[in-house]
Amino acid sequence: MKYADEFRDKTIAQGLARAIGAEASPQRLYRFMEFCGGHTHAISRYALEDMLPVNVRMVHGPGCPVCVLPASRIDMGIKLADRPEVTLCVYGDLMRVPGAQGQSLLRAKTRGTDIRMIYSTLDAVRIAEQAKDREVVFFAIGFETTTPPTAVTLRLAEKKQLKNFSVFCNHVLTPSAILSILGGADIRNIGRVEIDGFVGPGHVSTIIGTEPYDFVAEEFGKPVVIAGFEPLDMLQAILMLVRQVNEGRYEVENQYSRAVTREGNSRAKKEVSDIFELRDQFEWRGLGLVPYSGLKLKLAYAQFDAEVRFAMHEVRVADNPGCECGAILRGVKKPVDCKLFGTICRPETPMGSCMVSAEGACAAHWTYGRFRDHH
């Protein structure tokens, strides 16, 4: 498979692993957080941790858009779908995310609400065009990578003068979340987990560029290496982080230079800034209310804003008290530290969001790595 196999080469991978082993000082620990769920998944799927020395540890971060969506937003979505005139279009991995009292979009669909699983935002527009008598709402989630497609969809809906289409916007911003993690009480005050560097998001950075991470390096003195999602990308990024730590540097470096530039995609950024604006705060599962971390539609697009159109209200919902997703998403705890993990919380019956998506830290450990807890 061209453009993928090159980045899965066994010999090069083993060479990188040897270099990490040779250069990592046995006198110290290296704790690197991969922010992105895509990276978490790659690490587990390719069993990359088996290739790292024991003192180079990966801490799984909150970069899974499904995982960080709080129960309150799921409940809002379910309430919306309960309206008889509404057809709610969602991405498949959102279906099983737990809301309050064990509710989920999947359960709502089973009891007869009109919820459709789609693969592309354009599918939602097509459904709206075909069913003029329905109020078609797209449940938009995701980081900076998925915001431009939502923007394009809104432009298209505007051009087609669709009167029955709107977006329930849950788009969130990566830099604000990293700031929240570095500034979080668990990490700063209690100091239970220290992070020596970040593997920075790959896809997100294709849009926003590497520039927005400068503050992490400057303010917090942490190295950041933006990485791609293939095994060689990950290993090379880890090696680059080890070198920065060894040399006492804290810079933003770009391993994923085949896709990411310093400036990012200016056209996509403009589309997004034309249509969306910052919310004062947005709730993240695990991180709580994070200032300036979410987007909403600008007033000029209010007719397409489901929250305005259907006068939706947010009601904050407490997570399952036994669920450690919050601490896991911040890298403070590991999946096995949660007493629900593997007992009542499994991919078939997720209690917390980390178990829902394949990119969640708990689902990744359960699906690919739990044998290590036994062997």
Binding site: R8, K10, Y46, A47, Y119, D123, P347, Y368, F371
Partner: protein, 348 residues
Amino acid sequence: MTAMAYQSKLDIDNGCVDLSHGAGGRAMTQLIFGLFHEAFGNKWLARGNDQSAFDVRAGRMVMTTDGYVVSPLFFSGGNIGSLAVHGTINDVAMAGARPLYLSASFIIEEGLRFSDLKMIADSMGEAARTAGVYIITGDTKVVERGKADGLFISTTGIGILPDGLDLSADKASVGDRVLVSGSLGDHGVAIMSKRQNLAFETDIVSDSAALHHLVAEIVAVGGGGIRAMRDPTRGGFAATLNEIAHQSGLGFRLQEEAIPVKPGVAAACELLGLDPLYVANEGKLVAIVAPEMANAVLAAMKANPLGRDAADVGEAVADDHRFVLLSTRFGGSRIVDWLSGEQLPRIC
């Protein structure tokens, strides 16, 4: 009864099924005789009874049943009809049995075009004839528009076991080899590429095929050394091995580099975020074989065109947790777990 009894022939080119074709009246009989009997043509159906009688010999028989709801009805490499024949033949064959007879039950949504139904029935007839199996009884129901998605088919198969053969997953032992008869994930990818909301271009065709001849050939070589066979359909190879691990109380250790996956399937899965190990197959089998017989069975597989790309991909190991573990190409290990949730609805 003959076609003379009806006022006009079925308008195959332009007509479609309506509720009267399931109502028990003249229209239904016309559909059965004019379309299904034409396609399946055999002496049992020709007698026109609600059931068929056939001779049995002393010995053990196997019976299996399966429902087919694949969407879309037509895909690259087959359609719901050929699938309904191959799939049930394969379920019989996985016991090591020789399939003999099938029944076929059709639940048709009104409005299905006769031309589509004829194409499907003709493929069933052809698949059965090629396999040397007869469709000897059937049923037809028609439901209102919106109550079924075009057509659902159920087939039941009966076959006969060679004397003394008793394959079962609980017979797997530590050290047994895991053989697959060819590349994984072809059927699932062929179906997905035709889904309306996913459509992408690929030259991958479904591997839908009847495996009983291949089975007969490997049983002739491997005999009791073959502990169990499964066709990895829904949930793919991963689900099949987890089932066998569960039944046998063993674990498995697989070698990623040995598992055959076509580049086109790998690429499509990459695009869709799927793992080929979980994608359905309709013309592949997994055999758990005693180590001393494994090479001979593998050679027998490779000698048959349907097993040309067969491979030895791993072994059974002692593991109280019954984990299916994969050694990655980089030398790490990961679990190949059960499929959770529904990866791809209505794949067969």
